[in-house]
């Protein structure tokens, strides 16, 4: 049952990363991809009606994590205090830049909003990647299951790490490139004309870069934390995961070159999912490794809530998530197809 909830939380997180990932990626590239005001508005309209719902997956995942693994929630949220609060500020900046851009006329305001939206999205991508890097690298958990990390110390992964060190910054860059690609595929899917050509071109440049960066980060991971191979040796079927990761990068490139934006979007979704699955698979049953010694690891077993709570939650969760998926299918169908700027006087953005 505990493993089931571990999988549920992981799946919810993956859904969040895929859905809000394209919002973030779109934000990260839009200053470079969209040149005119009309193009910017097209970009914003491609995510406008859905970003808020996508962001709810973060809250829902946080909620599920909170009740299913209260110890993990308590330890990691307080330990990653500063970056998490900064993520909140970025989420605010993104929402404000996105939602209030069209409320005030004038190029200065629009430029300001575009920049806030872009900078927030870029930093969000980097922070999310760095967060994942921290989880893989491990944190200095004490015997009471708590820790605290400053933003940076000496940029090394050694015994006194910060949130940011060379390894987690590398993870952050991987995430930024991966989410930018994901966003580019989304924009290509939802627009046409010059804008579409430009984001496709960006994708063709970024995907080889992602291939190199992913390889680098894989090598780095193996060098700082060789234990990650343990589960792969136990269950060799796991080797499919890295294959899928690299395969999906190649597919992004090929699909984009052929102008198959849907295929490219699915490929980047696969990439993001497989990266998360890879981390979850490599760590299981650990959920937050301790750099201070194996005995301090947070595992599924020592973080989980009571059996009754998991059982009763499974009932309402299943029921609720089916309804929620229904909303999402409905909303995405309502806003399907290419975005246009005409014919909707009451439209925001």
């Amino acid at each position: 049952m505990a493993t089931l909830w571990f999988c549920i939380v992981a799946v919810m997180l993956a859904v969040y990363v895929i859905l809000d990932g394209f919002d973030i990626g779109t934000g990260a590239i839009h200053l470079f991809a969209a040149k005119s005001d009309d193009e910017r508005r097209k970009v914003l309209r491609s995510i406008g009606p859905v970003w808020d719902g996508n962001e709810v997956w973060l809250l829902a995942t946080g909620g599920a994590l909170y009740f299913a693994f209260p110890q993990l929630y308590a330890s990691s949220f307080s330990g990653f205090y500063l970056p998490l609060i900064m993520v909140l500020w970025m989420l605010m900046g993104r929402a404000i830049g996105l939602e209030f851009r069209s409320h005030i006329e004038g190029p200065v305001w629009k430029k300001l909003c575009d920049s806030v939206f872009a900078v927030s999205s870029i930093l969000l991508a980097i922070f999310y990647g760095a967060a994942l890097g921290n989880v893989v690298r491990g944190v200095p958990l004490a015997a009471d299951h708590y820790f605290f990390l400053p933003l940076w110390t000496n940029w090394r992964v050694g015994p006194n790490p910060g949130i940011l060190d060379w390894y987690t910054v590398l993870s952050g860059v991987v995430a930024l490139v991966a989410l930018s690609l994901h966003g580019a595929h989304w924009v290509a899917l939802k627009t046409d004309g010059d804008l579409q050509q430009r984001v496709r071109k960006a994708s063709l440049i970024l995907s080889p870069a992602l291939l190199v960066l992913t390889l680098l980060s894989l090598i780095a991971t193996l060098s700082i934390r060789p234990e990650v191979l343990r589960n792969f040796k136990l269950a060799p079927i796991g080797y499919i995961i890295p294959l899928a990761v690299f395969g999906s990068v190649v597919l992004m490139f090929l699909f984009t070159r052929r102008g198959n934006d849907k295929g490219a979007f699915l490929a980047s979704s696969t990439y993001l999912t497989m990266m998360l699955v890879g981390v979850a698979f490599a760590l299981y049953p650990i959920i937050l490794p301790a750099s201070t010694g194996e005995q301090f690891n947070l595992t599924i077993a020592n973080s989980v809530t009571s059996a009754y709570a998991m059982k009763v939650a499974l009932v309402w969760w299943t029921f609720g998530i089916i309804i929620a998926l229904g909303y999402f299918v409905y909303v995405y169908r309502m806003f399907k197809g290419k975005v246009s700027l005409t014919g909707s006087g009451e439209h925001g953005y």
Binding site: D52, V56, A74, L84, L91, E105
Partner: protein, 456 residues
Amino acid sequence: MDSALLVHRLQFAFTITYHYLFPQLTMGLAPLIVVFKTMYLKTGNVRYNDAARFWAKIFGINFVIGVVTGIPMEFQFGTNWSHFSRFAGGVIGQTLAMEGVFAFFLESAFLGLFLYGEKRLSPKAHWWSAMAVFLGSWISGYFIVATDAWMQHPQGYAIQPDGSAALTSFWGLVLNPWALWQYFHNMAGAVLTGAFVMAAVGSFYLLSKKHQEHAKSFVTTGVIAGFIAAILLIGPTGDGQGRNLAKHQPATLAAMEALFETKPGAPLVIIGQPDVEKKTIDNSIEVPYALSFLTYRKWNAEVKGLDAFPQSEWPQNISLLYYSYHIMVGLGTIFMAILVVAGFLLWRKKLWDARWMLWILMLSFPFPYIANTAGWMTAEVGRQPYLVYGLMRTVEGYSKTVSAGNGWFTLLGFMGMYTMLSALFLFLITREIAHGPEPVVNTQTGPVRAVAAEVR
């Protein structure tokens, strides 16, 4: 007081107080927007649809700020209150997760359709999207109140060997008797804010002789909805809430009323300044026996004063608690008076000429916000010295690993962010109100719209 504890408390108090300024309006406006949409469907009069669209814009701006200031709330349980989260997460994590799954998905999915999808939807489908947003926001309110109710009056749990609380009864948590009264009291408070804001905007238009037809329907809707809400607030829900307090948090009740001594036939203090050191109330105006009657329905019933409890069980800030409570109740009484007079004038069809009443309605919109805030302060300051009443003290719950310095950094950051948000919010709202509810004939997109409005 440990300074790290102080800063964690300040940050939570600041962010939650600021946050709740926005949801109280959106939760209050949502049903009123549904009323306008319903009137449109029933009568076919487009003016109601224009009214709904105007209020949807106000709703939308408030909603965005509500969302961005709301996300920090759930996160702060983990970041700033990790020991509390470890203790209570297995229980209240359920209601918070349910809020995400049952309320936020519904609300966020349909908000986009409601705000931007009117052209794509049939009038009936658009009505449903308004309804979905209304339901989403009210379901969300319930789960938050249920979470707070568990902290006020823990139910359906057992303490595990490791010292944390584990859920033992799902329905005990979700149908906590504390939550039921608190929810209806809170939602009536939200409707009151929505109603007063609507009436204030209508009065402003009437006084400035603009959009008069719309303005009359705003004032009418606001006064009627406000009147119903005020009755519910004072009547069943406020009373139920008070009796829950007497039963489960008697020390809090005594502190709210600044009743230092246990006595039969306890008076109700209307005004006065408590002196906690000397255990007296200066300059007090009291209604004799009223507290006993309101609490126990008997004029001579004995009400426990603070002396009946060890000082370690007293809320630490008795004066603040006393004032929060008295401000809430005092304002509630004033709202009732305003709404009775306004309602009477409306009924006698004299309200549109009674400019003095329109002035009062226009100027009173900030006070429901104050009353709602004071109400929540009563609940949360009254919960002290406990974080989870009777189970965990506030001093035990905060993140011991997060230093005061890091806390101040983020608190000041939040203050800066929220100051900018406030400026932006006021600017945008003023613009929407100045723009008014009349539709723009031009069907062009964004930029041209406002220009067209200026030209017109």
